[in-house]
């Protein structure tokens, strides 16, 4: 039986045990979460560009963004049949809210509620992007307004010991800051809860600003992200670090035809004139040039100086023959494409595991808090699955390797992490092969890895956690081999 099937069975038996008791509703919630899309929270310091990135991922300017601080409560964005906004107060029953859209951004009428009274704002929005991921926009940390920081801490470290609301986390940071490390730590639980390096991706956000809006800014940002990936402190806290220029991504994904035409006209200006215009934002807005100043200001506001410079550059290089081509080019530059594929590879493919793990946590917590007849046996079952499921064992060793709690003899850490699915659960990713590698190569690499790790697992010199880790790697290889034998890769 697969891991998820086993967890589903446990949830079903819990539903029977709790039938007619107050616990039943919570079991149903656990079940719904297991069946629903993966919940990914977007977290980070204040003004790290969380809402902007969310919009880029959804493909619509939904979440309000603003030069000041604007996200004061967690906003949930989930796929739905109809457009609906629900206010969830800390105390009392959820209420439907009226909303309008200004330039796309949602404006929600809070009615009698103060933002501080709300647990969350729930947005149902028919969207293809939200079908596989529910996205949660969270308040910033290190805000000058203390209430905002508290709101963020409440979200990631709820008062009671229930599983956190998110299955995975995208953590946005502008530079690596002491506050970032502290915050990542606050939702990295040492036992079996919350977020772990495996379900956290760090994003170097507003990456274009590192290079102060220069055309090569994203290359600089990639270099910085590369250095952060080598940082042990970060490796302990997240899987990887990727640079994203969120504003550019958001603007590109929603680019309009008139904006494209203005970029074209700018690209057609003589070199000297264009350069003068793009020297500073004030010049771009104030100097004589194509289109009325107001239009140019609007363009700048949406794309930023880096986006504007890049768009004009791409057109001049012949990479923006039409709006679609330019849009694709800008999205590629912004880094959001890379982030998307990373999400698909790291989160979506592992979605069942992450959700199942969250459900197990929630069940364990429920039976501890509200025991009823028969929950003793259920608790034992939950523990058995927690301890036994190979997927969880893999994840545990992976986390231990990443956090440095477990170290293997020289040079083995990286390979062990990869075979345990650290670069993605796909067989080729595990074996360190190209996505295009043929079956024969896969088999050869697998046989090689299996033999090597079997020797390590059985070596008389191996003992303790290192031996257990080698055994886990062997199991991972055997599971791969089984998959290949049945042609299930």
């Amino acid at each position: 039986m697969t891991f998820v099937a086993e967890v589903s069975r446990l949830v079903a038996s819990a539903a029977q045990l709790y039938a007619g008791t107050p616990g039943r509703q919570q079991v149903d919630e656990i079940g719904a979460r297991l069946a629903g899309p993966l919940r990914v929270a977007i977290a980070g310091k204040v003004k790290a560009g969380k809402s902007t990135l969310l919009n880029a991922l959804v493909g619509e300017e939904l979440a309000p963004t603003d030069a000041g601080e604007c996200t004061r409560v967690p906003w949930w964005f989930r796929d739905g049949l109809t457009y609906r906004v629900t206010l969830r107060p800390r105390v009392g029953t959820p209420q439907a809210a009226r909303f309008t859209r200004t330039d796309g951004a949602l404006e929600v009428d809070l009615g009698d509620f103060d933002a501080g009274d709300l647990e969350s704002i729930d947005v149902e929005w028919p969207s293809r992007a939200l079908r596989t991921l529910t996205l949660i926009d969270t308040p910033g940390i290190a805000s000058a307004t203390p209430a905002l920081t508290h709101a963020a801490e409440r979200f990631f470290s709820p008062d009671d010991e229930r599983a956190g609301p998110a299955d995975a986390v995208i953590y946005l940071m502008r530079h690596l800051h002491a506050a970032d490390v502290g915050f990542l730590e606050s939702f990295t639980d040492d036992a079996f809860a919350g977020s772990t390096p495996v379900n956290t991706i760090a994003v170097l956000s507003r990456a274009d600003e590192l290079g102060v809006g220069r055309l090569d800014a994203m290359e600089s940002a990639a270099r910085v992200a590369g250095r952060y990936r080598q940082d042990r402190r970060l490796a302990r806290l997240c899987q990887t670090v990727v640079p994203v220029a969120g504003l550019l991504a958001q603007a590109a994904v929603t680019m309009r035809e008139d904006e494209y035409r203005l970029f074209r006209r700018l690209a057609e200006l003589p070199d000297g004139e264009l350069e003068e215009l793009l020297l500073s934002v004030d010049r771009f807005a104030a100097r004589p040039g194509p289109a009325p100043a107001a239009e140019r200001v609007a363009l700048l506001r949406r794309f930023g100086i880096f986006g504007t410079r890049t768009a004009v550059h791409l057109i001049r290089e012949g990479l923006g023959a039409d709006a679609t081509a330019l849009k694709a080019g800008l999205l590629a530059v912004s880094g959001v494409d890379d982030l998307r594929s990373l999400l698909a590879q790291q989160f979506a493919a592992r979605s069942d595991l992450l959700k199942g793990r969250a459900a197990l946590l929630a069940l364990a917590d429920l039976v501890r808090r509200m025991p009823v007849a028969g929950t003793d046996a259920l608790e034992a079952d939950v523990e058995r699955v927690q301890a036994g499921a190979h997927e969880l064992v893999e994840m545990r060793f992976l986390n231990a390797l990443r956090s440095g709690e477990l170290t293997l003899p020289a040079g083995q850490d990286a390979e062990a992490a990869r075979l345990l699915g650290g670069d993605g659960p796909d067989p080729r990713a595990r074996l360190g092969l190209d996505a295009s590698a043929g079956d024969a190569d896969v088999r050869a690499a697998l046989a090689d890895a299996l033999g090597r790790w079997q020797r390590r697992a059985e070596s008389p010199l191996a003992f303790g956690p290192a031996k257990e880790a080698a055994q886990a790697v062997v199991r991972a290889c055997e599971a791969l081999a089984a998959g290949l034998a049945y042609g299930l890769e």
Partner: protein, 587 residues
């Protein structure tokens, strides 16, 4: 005479020095010359502080018009870089062990986190000399490591530096409004530094920079920091310089910042001028004393001689190490005890908190981070104690100055204004809080140190709060923890690991406390020595003035009546002349 005019002040100082020399009093003329020299080229120390990667180094480069501080998208400054005037560009590196000139190209290797990780080069401060017009009149810019970077021990070093600075440029970039850590830093900076100038950087790339500036001005008003915020673009300025384009230089906003810096320089100069004028008055008082003695003796020899004998005796006691020296010694011993106790109290609190953390977690997880946090905390506590040393030493120096004032009044009574060290006000102008806002600067000025020398005196503490803490720490941890079994994640070992961790923490805090105590005591001994030398010279000069006064009075006894009258008139003229000068010095 108004003293606002610097030329008038230096003319007056030159005049007083000449008179002292003519009277054979080189001990007094030297004091005036020293003041005049410092006034001609005062060290005005302006610290450039702010979060990590907001463009502090670029701003310094744009201000001096040369690429002196390394700027890169990725690298960050990790060692304070002091930029001062020099006719030839050059780099001078002050290390923990020695000082040495370095090739200019080496700077990036020395002052960045990447080139010099954890300051393994043991650099204390890097001095860069540039032939920049802005710096020609003594302005010194100090580029600091960002306050929020991973290694925030730098933040407390920056705070200690601020206690010695004349102003701080607080830089934040235009992409977002102030964050909590930035506001905390502003509030702390405002307490220790006389002037805070808020600078918004990178306005060339942020369309909404005006809004951010407004929001920030709101926060500044709340924090009691005067505005307006100076909006700048280092990029436009550097382009404007490179391409010789006045329009870009105008748009960069740097001119307004230079204006604010000139304001700071002006304020420091005024304060220094006031101090120099006080000194001039004191010197004139002593030059006048023998004349006055003679003048009075002509009228009433017996009473005058009696008074002067008393003054000589008082000055002899002063010069022969009496009450004031005891006051200084007792005060410094008391200070050292207080510092030791305060340090001990703070370290005990650190240990208690660290013990709680270790007792409730597994040291195998996050030990490095815990270690970094511990080092940071220790550094903050040491920094707070160091700033406190300034408060205590400042109070002591003030008492010493008051003690001397009484003697000066007795021996050289023409000194009408308060003595040099007590206050340095400029009548009707700069409020005294400007100078006394930083006790450290006060006491260092009393000891005759300018801003740069002050940084040198504090160097040991600066180093201590920033850099050296890192090294002993990694050493201790390496020996006691890292090499052993702390990373072994088996549950049953948690207790053993905790014991080891507690042992390592205690060892580290003990070592840190000892080292900090040593540094702080060394600093206080140095302050004691300098104050002692300064005041001993002062006492010797007074003793000499008193003896010369007595001798002058005794000479008049027995001179014939006709000469007595003409001598009396001559003395009255010369005294009137000196008093007019002193009146000028009094503002």
């Amino acid at each position: 005479m108004a003293v606002g005019n610097e030329e008038d002040v230096s003319a007056l100082l030159a005049d007083v020095a000449r008179r002292a020399q003519a009277a054979g009093r080189t001990d007094l003329s030297e004091r005036i010359v020293a003041h005049a020299e410092r006034l001609a080229r005062p060290d005005v120390v302006v610290v450039v502080a702010g979060e990590f990667k907001v463009g502090k180094s670029s701003l310094v480069n744009a201000l001096v018009g040369a690429a002196v501080c390394p700027v890169d998208d990725d690298i960050a400054t990790s060692v304070p870089t002091l930029v001062r005037f020099a006719s030839e560009p050059g780099v001078h590196v002050r290390r923990l062990a020695d000082d040495a000139p370095q090739p200019v190209e080496d700077i990036a290797r020395l002052v960045t986190e990447q080139g010099n990780p954890d300051n393994r080069e043991d650099v204390r401060i890097v001095e860069v000399g540039v032939p920049s017009a802005l710096l020609a009149d003594g302005l010194i810019l100090v580029d600091t490591p960002g306050v929020g970077g991973l290694s925030s021990t730098y933040a407390s070093a920056t705070m200690t530096t601020l206690a010695l600075a004349d102003a701080v440029l607080f830089v934040s970039d235009a992409s977002q409004e102030y964050t909590r850590p930035e506001l905390d830093f502003l509030a702390a900076a405002r307490k220790v530094c006389p002037e805070v100038v808020a600078v918004l950087s990178k306005v060339d790339v942020v369309p909404e920079w005006r809004r951010i500036s407004e929001l920030n001005e709101g926060w500044l008003a709340g924090a009691g920091v005067p505005g307006p915020i100076v909006a700048t673009s280092a990029a436009l300025q550097l382009r404007g310089i490179a391409g010789d384009r006045a329009d870009l230089r105008d748009e960069s906003g740097l001119a307004a910042l230079v204006g604010r810096l000139r304001g700071v320089t002006g304020r420091v100069r005024r304060t220094m001028a006031a101090g120099a004028l006080d000194e001039a008055r004191a010197v004139l008082g002593q030059l006048a004393a023998p004349l006055r003695a003679e003048h009075e003796a002509l009228a009433d020899p017996d009473a005058t001689i009696a008074r002067l004998e008393e003054a000589v005796e008082s000055a002899r006691r002063l010069s022969a190490d009496s009450d004031w020296a005891a006051l200084l010694d007792d005060g410094m011993i008391d200070l050292e005890n207080q510092v030791g106790a305060e340090l001990g109290r703070r370290m005990k609190a650190v240990l208690a908190d660290a013990g709680r953390t270790v007792g409730t977690s597994d040291p195998a997880a996050g030990w490095d981070e815990f270690g970094a946090a511990l080092a940071r905390r220790v550094s903050e506590e040491v920094s707070a104690v160091a700033v406190g040393v300034g408060d205590l030493a400042g109070a002591l120096a003030t008492r010493l100055a008051e003690e001397f004032a009484e003697h000066e009044a007795l021996i050289a009574p023409m000194v009408v204004a308060p003595p040099v060290a007590a206050v340095l006000p400029l009548a009707g102008e700069a409020p005294p809080t400007l100078t006394r806002a930083t006790p450290w600067r006060g006491v260092l000025m009393d000891a005759g140190w300018g801003g740069l020398e002050a940084l040198g005196v504090m160097g040991s503490i600066l180093t201590f709060t920033s850099i050296s803490l890192f090294n002993p720490f990694s050493l201790v941890i390496g020996v006691f923890i890292g090499g052993k079994t702390v990373r072994d994640a088996r549950r049953r070992d948690v207790e053993r690991r905790r014991d080891q961790a507690v042992e390592a923490v205690e060892q580290y805090v003990r070592d840190a406390e000892q080292a900090a105590d040593r540094e702080l005591q060394a600093t206080s001994r140095r302050i004691r020595r300098e104050l002692r030398t300064t005041y001993q010279r002062r006492a010797d000069a007074l003793y000499r003035s008193a003896r010369e006064s007595l001798a002058a009075a005794q000479r008049t006894i027995g001179s014939d009546d006709a000469r007595r009258e003409s001598r009396r008139r001559e003395l009255a003229d010369r005294l009137g002349d000196l008093e007019a000068l002193a009146g000028g010095a009094g503002g």
